[in-house]
Amino acid sequence: MTPKRKRLWLLVGSLGVLGVAAALVLSALSDNIVFFYSPSQLAEKHVAADRRFRLGGLVENGSVQKHGTEVRFRVTDLKQSVEVVYRGILPDLFREGQGVIAEGSLDRDGVFTAREVLAKHDEKYMPPEVAKALKESGRWQEGEGTTK
């Protein structure tokens, strides 16, 4: 085989693999992107029930209720708040007044059912999306402490 034919083969092979990969990636991206909303954004948009997304904000003070393995709490950006239900063990850093990101979907009554509540390594750490959402709601400044 001449070097030219070899290169052609290589090119065809590479394009084939890359094409399949690109198709997979595009279809996966359109189905599996998870959007991030703050409670205020959620109030403006109408997100379909069962559409998976991430909800971020602060855990509202005094809102955490536990019934057995089920936990209910409200996530707030200090303007709007959303009720969240989660079954399972919360991450160690979950506390009232702290930043939180929950992934899940809304049910028919507008209650957010979390399938996952994300843990952070560091208690000083505020997820960037949450910090941005809080700044946009205009009620919180960078570096401002939240209630413990």
Partner: protein, 658 residues
């Protein structure tokens, strides 16, 4: 006094690195032997200074010198010694120090053991290494200085993040960095080769062991990180497709591709410019990994506190290194002469397919990891790309890789026939199909993808072993002949069989754990019972216990089967006294075929405690398999043929023992 010495040594190291980055390069250009020889002296001096500096920092942590801001922020006098030591690199500044330490030691290793390298190549390699060193040393000194004093010194420190106080995580960063930084050596060789315009088999013989060593350490580092997240985070999972995990997976994928293409350069003198490109990419992805972890641009469970100044510095550094290297590549790569010709169906062809698939995998991970960042920049929309994306892209492409992995080693160099190779693999194929059907019918009829993956796991193990048996002519020649072949078999081939088969174990473990685990979450009062899979679970007791720097609540959970005690699990909730932070400590009982896994949630005697139980089949195979994979790499590394200037000393000893 000692921290000032360390600080001073670090500044001196930067000065030495500047010398090393320029003079030997000029020397190599002009053919000036004395200037070239300077590279060696400078590399050794730089390593000495950085070791001194790192030792000074370690001393401050061990003696709890709270006049240093970093020790106050990350340590506490009541911490066990191991975590005082790991505290040195368990934070931003210290981990950067560890990075330059390993870089300098590797540089010194090239200088010491590279005596049989051509003078010019050695001078250039050391020069390129020093460029990287200058970048990192400047980064440390100007944005993340670990030697800053605090006055007045507080009586005690803030302690270390309790999640990081774990033996697994104590060694995770050093191993990972040995891998990341190991690729800096191959990067330096690639750049030096581009400057010289020459890549030959001798070059590949140097690059391959370094790639292999870096790859082994990276494999171990990722394995340890995954294991840590499995037993610490208490979610029962082992891989979350978190940006930071992806950041370490990408250089691993590129490094694996490099490992294989370097073989083609060495044996067949082909694929040269591609291999150089891969060497550049592997290190670029290592740098990108550092950038992603350190700058906090992505939401991640790992992200340390962010600092925009640092982010900008690393971003600029990244642009210079990656942009510069790729520009140099575009300019110089056409001068690299390509050698050996081959047919598409051949060992070379199979290795090209391997490279294509690995690079595609790497590209999907890169896209999934950076997509949220780009979308945020372009439209301001906040999105995250999670496991479903990676499962639908990464998994099918890796199936293609697994399918080819067993066939490739049966093909000869230059030209080969596909059919005979497939015929020799028929047993493996048949058993894999049976395994797949069993998995799809007996275990779980809903998870077809899992059943398919299970079949591929079996295929990988059997296919690799068959290739090995074929190589020693097992059963086809007298036993004495097989033994003779076994004794003379190159270690590199043995290593390949081990690593390929080990990947099969990783696949089996991952599939079984992800698809066929059983989970139970409920509240238990003391004495309460529940059914869990085949067992009856009882919360026998909850009692307070005391650790070195924490108080804990320990639950005793008994699992019985047909009235006989099967296992006792003792998960804890630890309250770290310094940070006032609670951390759940999981309890795992394993018999190497399944993990019984328990975490303890909050609760009290009246309401009961929330307990989460998992039965994870084959879970230990994930990490044992991955460790075996790295072991295969080390076996291959011990091959005599991989030693440069074989009769001389092995360069394997040059790997520092951190």
């Amino acid at each position: 006094m000692i921290p000032e010495l360390g600080h001073y040594a670090l500044i001196l190291a930067l000065a030495v690195a500047l010398v090393q980055a320029t003079l030997p390069m000029i020397g190599a250009h002009r053919g000036d032997i004395r200037l070239m020889a300077l590279g060696r002296t400078a590399a050794l001096t730089q390593a000495f200074l950085i070791i001194l500096s790192f030792a000074a920092l370690t001393e401050a942590f061990v003696t709890s010198d709270f006049s240093l801001a970093m020790v106050v922020a990350n340590s506490h006098s009541a911490k066990p010694l191991l975590y005082k030591l790991s505290g040195v690199w368990g934070n931003h500044e210290g981990s950067m120090m560890l990075w330059v330490l390993i870089l300098a030691v590797f540089g010194a290793a090239v200088a010491l053991f590279g005596e049989n390298l051509p003078d010019g190549l050695r001078a250039r390699v050391l020069g390129v290494q020093a460029w990287v060193g200058v970048g990192f040393l400047a980064f440390i000194l100007f944005t993340s200085n670990p030697f800053l004093r605090l006055s007045p010194a507080p009586p005690d420190g803030n302690g270390m993040n309790p999640l990081l106080q774990d033996p697994g995580l104590a060694f995770h960063p050093p191993l990972l960095y040995l891998g990341y930084v190991g690729f800096s050596v191959t990067f330096a060789f690639a750049i030096a080769a581009l400057i010289e315009g020459r890549v030959d088999a001798a070059w590949a013989r140097w690059v391959r062991p370094w790639t292999l060593a870096a790859w082994c350490f990276l494999t171990l580092g990722i394995t340890l990180g995954s294991w840590w997240s499995y037993y610490i985070l208490g979610w029962g999972g082992f891989w979350f497709w978190d940006p930071v995990e992806n950041a370490s997976l990408m250089p691993w994928l590129a490094g694996t591709a490099l490992l294989h293409s370097a073989i083609v350069v060495e044996k067949r003198d082909a694929l040269k410019s591609w291999t150089v490109l891969l060497a550049i990419l592997a290190f670029s992805l290592s740098l990108l990994g550092t950038f992603l972890v350190r700058s906090g641009v992505l939401t991640s469970v790992h992200a340390f506190a962010q600092d925009p100044a640092r982010g900008m510095f690393i971003l600029a550094f990244l642009l210079v290194v990656i942009g510069g290297a790729l520009a140099l590549y575009a300019w110089r790569a056409p001068t690299l002469q390509s050698g050996g010709l081959f047919q598409p169906i051949s060992r070379e062809g199979a290795l090209i397919l391997n490279n294509l698939l690995l690079c595609t995998l790497c590209a999907t991970v890169l896209l999934g990891t950076l997509y949220p960042l780009f979308l945020d920049l372009l439209s301001g929309a906040k999105v995250s790309v999670g496991p479903p994306f990676f499962n639908t892209t990464f998994v099918p492409i890796s199936f293609a890789l697994f399918a080819a992995m067993c066939v490739g080693p049966f093909l000869g160099w230059k030209r080969a026939e596909l059919w005979p190779a497939l015929v020799r693999l028929r047993t493996a194929f048949a058993v894999a199909v049976i395994g797949m059907i069993l998995a799809a019918t007996v275990i779980d009829s809903h998870a077809t993808l899992a059943a398919l993956a299970f079949g591929f796991g079996v295929w990988l193990i059997l296919g690799s072993l068959l290739e090995f048996a074929d190589r020693v002519r097992l059963g086809r020649v007298p036993w004495a002949e097989t033994r003779r072949r076994l004794a003379t078999m190159p270690r590199a081939s043995i290593g390949m069989t081990i690593s390929h088969a080990a990947l099969g174990f990783v696949v089996l473990g991952s599939v079984a754990t992800a698809a066929w685990n059983v989970e139970l979450i409920r509240t238990f009062k003391i004495g309460e019972r529940a059914r869990f899979a085949d067992w009856e679970v009882t919360l026998t007791n909850v009692e307070p216990v005391r650790g070195p720097n924490y108080d804990a609540e320990r639950a005793t959970i008994t699992l019985t089967k047909d009235g006989k005690r099967f296992a006792v699990l003792t998960p804890e909730r630890r309250m770290f006294l310094v940070q006032r932070r609670e951390v759940a400590e999981t309890s795992i009982q394993t018999n190497f075929l399944r993990d019984l896994y328990a975490t303890l949630g909050e609760g009290d005697a009246q309401k009961g405690w929330t307990i989460r139980l998992y039965d994870n089949p084959l879970a230990p195979w994930i990490w044992l398999g991955a460790a075996l994979c790295a072991f295969g790499g080390f076996v291959s590394l011990s091959d005599r043929r991989l030693r440069v200037g074989a009769p001389k000393r092995s360069r394997v000893v040059a790997q520092p023992a951190e």
